[in-house]
Symmetry: C2
Subunit: 420 residues, 2 copies
Amino acid sequence: MQAEIIAVGSELTSGHVLNTNSAWLAQQVEDYGLKVVSHVTVGDAADQLERSLRLALDRADWVIVTGGLGPTYDDITKEVAAKVWGQPLLLSDEAMAHIDNFFKDRSQKATANNKKQAMVPKGAEILANPSGLAPGIWLKNEEATLVLLPGPPHEMKATFEASLAPRLAATAQSAIRRHALHFYGIGEAEVDSRLDDILPDNSNPLVAPYAKGGEVELQVTAYGPSDQAAEDLIKPVIQTLIDHFKDYFYGIDVDHLKYPVSQQLARGKWSMASAESCTGGLISKWFTDIPGSSAYFAGGICTYTEKAKQYFLQVQADTLAKYGAVSAQTAAEMADGARAAFQTDLAISTTGIAGPGGGSPEKPVGLAYIGLATPTGTFTWHFQANALQTKHRSAVRDAVGRAALFHLFEYLKQNPEALS
Amino acid sequence: MQAEIIAVGSELTSGHVLNTNSAWLAQQVEDYGLKVVSHVTVGDAADQLERSLRLALDRADWVIVTGGLGPTYDDITKEVAAKVWGQPLLLSDEAMAHIDNFFKDRSQKATANNKKQAMVPKGAEILANPSGLAPGIWLKNEEATLVLLPGPPHEMKATFEASLAPRLAATAQSAIRRHALHFYGIGEAEVDSRLDDILPDNSNPLVAPYAKGGEVELQVTAYGPSDQAAEDLIKPVIQTLIDHFKDYFYGIDVDHLKYPVSQQLARGKWSMASAESCTGGLISKWFTDIPGSSAYFAGGICTYTEKAKQYFLQVQADTLAKYGAVSAQTAAEMADGARAAFQTDLAISTTGIAGPGGGSPEKPVGLAYIGLATPTGTFTWHFQANALQTKHRSAVRDAVGRAALFHLFEYLKQNPEALS
């Protein structure tokens, strides 16, 4: 079953707003066995949309349109869809009741414009929108299914999940299972070159590698006649991949090291602190991104001056003078200092040169040291960002932060329970 | 002159990779007076691409294709373009010399696959690619101009800027000036409703409002027969808008408050520190995102426990007991404590409930207090995230952080020079 996705909005064609809806929708509907063959983006112009819609309905089994369901004059999707579908627009009591309730809850009244949002092509079914006023619309005949979804991403996603996903599941002819395995510390080319040996017949499940910000993701997709059959197909392949790349593996369906690290800290009843220089608060932000992180994360300190390193973390003036702020010795003392001050089991530290300035032949941009203070000693690691990363300050900081998390992750694998 | 943009790649149609090229290209080419009427994304399938290319050439003056110029079998753009254009592919000496040089620099030899990258449709001109092997291609006849660009974003952008932009500039019939004005603390609907009065004839320059993460951006675009004419048109409108919304305005062509705040700190020779609870290091990260921030940012501390607030920031146990960690009193003591410990002129603090848990009727999710310690006293502000923001921990944190930066920005407007 082939699908096309049409996004409507002049802010998209002009490039002022990035269209993230089409990619999100494509991933979702492919999980239900549809094959997305193209995306089209058109502005708020009826003739453009009409032409695109006719073409799409002509060649695809499913056409999913997002955007242009709002109350203003430039929201034209329903009018054009009704015309192409050959049906008049009628007021939907169901949609109007939803809109009236919305305003009643706010002690306001719907305007004439809002009534426009309750008009639907004759024969359409309503796809309830839990996050906004404009409902989605479902039109089906023998040749095609046409779905209209709202444009604001949170409304589009909420409508998809609440109202469209169950219908897709009901019509899906095969079950699909998809998982993403995440690896740190190995390149995409290296993974790719080894895949042929590991999986000579790479078809179902299909394993596809993707490079993601210095990490590698292996997307594993299995199709089967039932959920169970797809699950049975995918499980052994995932295990094979994890076993083969176990030194680099950090999680399934998690797209950041902060998740498995936080999980292990919580599970092992570890308490944690951070002391950052070049990463400037990024690691602290990552820990506190996670709801409930106050259970194990006591806090972090960003010391951007030598004085602050000495005052808060008791880094010795001698150490700074002899080895410099960017050194393994300073990293170790920063970690020790944070562990002592926050009275935690563990403390991680970073000190380095984020760039673009501040580098030297001995200590180039992208050089960093990472420290980890633990109940049984303090460890340090040397890190050097690669040539692509050193072009961007944000890439260097991100790479240093992820390296620090990976060292912590490795430590927690060896030491699952708090030792203190 | 109408333009269409076609992006090629099955990783794009499946949604696994987000297509950022089309939006970027649209913004660029509209600056040269082209009007982008649609974007199309197709997979690595020759029939799909051929159909889309024929349609686009049929209705647009300019067609810009990105992707599918690589050396592997699934890179089909040139073959399809040559077929549609009605010309054979020939080896380009110019493109081959570039490829040979590339490998010579690396003491390697080009492979047969690489030769594929030097094949171009007869009559094409080469658009040099400074960042990779695959050159761009320029084809022009009386009806249309067809441009092929590489797909990897850094190669696409480099090729555009080095080789395509100069050609667009040479053919542009009018000059364009575009600026984005940024406002904090006012809603898009409010701005929109006032625009009619301020600019009764909103056409050239055209002012368009966009809501961006709780802020408002006004994009102002002027066309004129020359650069100077466009500049003369746009200047007074920008000044009118800034004057009218001056309480909310924070910058031109900067998309984050951290930039003007950092600029003012540096210019006024202020020194700065942060003390964060609910924002967890985010503000410290923002300050240190800016190259050279060590000149004014001494550091920040994220205190995620009451103990850490007391130990590092001398928040009084009495204060925490009487008012709670989320209170104006605690925010004030945190800011005072950070200012004293880091020995800076200024210190900003946040304490609040980021969610999703931890809220209560008295102190709901999204409530925060912001403190600012200065040489002449300490100020605090109450903040409550809106209903949309409180659904997401990251949105609450971001909103609290931006509110803190805005209060700091306002203070620095009143006090441009360091007082200490």
